[in-house]
């Protein structure tokens, strides 16, 4: 079954081309002047200056949390590195001067090219040391080595944790 199509009547004003040309030029000119004076309809995002806001559930870059004295909360237990499905966390443990804390990470590196941002490291952490909630978008780099993020950078994003060492809340 064919569907009847309404064909517009082609009268002289369409065939003579000129009125339709003027109609088209009116549309172009309207866009030109509106955007010239108000920029109202411009949809372009001027990227490096303006950024589209991220979704509220966006988590972003990892960060390492701090104790009250500013040192890293991490006790180098390797639970995050073990839980990590991408095997992107590298920790080298060292002996802490405080016998109650026992260990601290000498090296704590995350290879951001391997990371899948699953958040399992955060789930695994027993002492709220690593979090995946900074909301910072990692900038691209020119070589792979600079995409490995070290302890200093991770701590710079971190802040004081509300949790107390040992699991008790104040």
């Amino acid at each position: 079954m064919g569907k009847p199509v309404d064909r517009p009547e082609i009268d002289l004003s369409i065939q003579s081309y000129l009125p339709e040309v003027l109609r088209g030029m009116r549309v172009s000119a309207r866009h030109f002047f509106v955007n010239l004076f108000t920029q109202r309809d411009i949809v372009t995002l001027r990227y490096p200056e303006d950024k589209r806001p991220y979704a509220r559930r966006y988590r972003g870059h990892h960060r390492l949390m701090r104790r009250e004295d500013g040192s890293v909360r991490c006790v180098a237990c390797f639970l995050c590195a073990t839980a990590c499905p991408a095997d992107c966390i590298r920790i080298v443990a060292g002996e802490h001067e405080n016998k109650d804390i026992e260990k601290y990470p000498v090296v704590f590196e995350i290879d951001m090219l391997k990371c899948v941002f699953c958040g399992l490291c955060e789930e695994a952490c027993p002492c709220d040391a690593i979090r995946l909630d900074s909301g910072v978008h990692r900038q691209p780099a020119f070589d792979r080595a600079s995409e490995v993020c070290g302890k200093v950078d991770l701590l710079a994003l971190g802040s004081l944790s509300a949790a107390r060492q040992g699991g008790e809340f104040k």
Partner: protein
């Protein structure tokens, strides 16, 4: 001696400063205007010493880029013709400014043959396109130059015929005298501009002139988005010269259109004979420049509104519609003038 010096100053002011720089600005204006019409931002990144000026630095960046690129000549090309073709495209539109009156008495050469000189020189413009395509030893470029030649020759006919009405009304072909004649008033009220006495002539002139300088919707010879044109083999500044020649032709069409149809340097009801001098004369030059800029704007607006014709449609429009309409315009004008 003062005559030579004065002429040299005029040549530099009209051809180099006005026409060339307006052409260069039009390359920016075209991109910016297309962007605004299509709800985009357009060029705004090039910066000179931190000044961006809405992308006005882009023509400078383009020129620097064009000059530093390799100047390529194909192995099989006719070297001599290949190297001269861009100049042949560039020079005729600049020469036309010799007879365009910029203000009362401000014309390089007030020729009595005015408009005929314009047609003669613009007719030479086809050589740039034809020789450029033919000499580059590329079959596609040759086809492009054939399209350009056929189109330009076709539309030259109707372009020449539909300004005959203007000559008939004002009784002269000299551009300076046509402008002075447009200072008169119809019924003591409306300025006797070409567009008032020859409205159809103006529309036909604009259509034919846009086809003549190969711009959309008549840009079949190049058709940059689908087919290659006569300047495929050109690179660096030689290509930029073809490109710039097109924009200078836009300025030429605007200047001739303003002179024939929009009263040239005339400001309505103000000093029609052009004898005031001083501030009034400056205002009249400003009026002429404003009219030229308006017509350039109109051409860009048409270019970003209408889709490209098919080649047979271009030929049909030229020979079957514009040409008979031009004849009809001449006949009607003659009858009205005789009556």
């Amino acid at each position: 001696m003062t005559f030579i010096l004065l002429t040299a100053v005029k040549v530099v002011a009209f051809c180099m400063v006005f026409a060339l720089s307006l052409g260069a600005i039009l390359t920016w204006a075209e991109r910016k205007m297309s962007a605004l019409i299509q709800d985009r931002v357009g060029p705004n990144r090039a910066s000179l010493l931190g000044v961006r000026a809405f992308g006005l630095m882009h023509p400078i960046a383009d020129a620097v880029k064009a000059f530093t690129k390799e100047d390529f000549v194909p192995a099989g090309a006719n070297r001599w013709l290949f190297l001269t073709a861009p100049a042949l495209a560039m020079v005729p539109p600049l020469v036309v400014f010799a007879v365009v009156p910029f203000g009362p008495g401000l014309v390089i050469a007030p020729l009595d043959t005015g408009m005929l000189f314009v047609f003669a020189i613009l007719g030479l413009g086809v050589y740039g396109a034809v020789l450029g395509g033919w000499s580059s030893d590329n079959s596609l470029a040759l086809l492009g130059s054939l399209r350009a030649a056929a189109q330009m020759v076709s539309y030259e006919v109707s372009m020449g015929l539909n300004v005959v009405g203007v000559f008939a009304v004002f009784g002269t072909v000299s551009l300076t005298q046509i402008v002075v004649a447009q200072g008169e008033l119809l019924w003591g009220l409306v300025p006797k501009w070409g567009i008032v006495v020859q409205p159809l002539g103006f529309v036909l002139f604009l259509a034919a002139a846009m086809a003549e300088n190969k711009r959309a919707p008549f840009d079949l010879p190049e058709g940059e988005s689908e087919i290659v044109g006569y300047h495929v083999e050109y690179s660096s500044m030689r290509f930029a010269m073809f490109f710039l020649a097109e924009f200078v032709e836009v300025v030429v069409v605007a200047a001739i259109g303003a002179t024939l149809f929009l009263g040239g340097w005339q400001i309505p009801w103000l000093d029609p004979r052009g004898q005031a001098g001083g501030g009034v004369m400056l205002a009249q030059v400003g009026a002429f420049v404003a009219k030229v800029v308006f017509l350039c704007w109109l051409q860009l607006l048409i270019r970003w509104t209408l889709p490209r014709f098919r080649y047979d449609q271009v030929m049909t429009l030229g020979w079957k519609y514009l040409l008979p309409l031009s004849f009809a315009n001449i006949v009607v004008t003659a009858v009205v003038l005789a009556a």
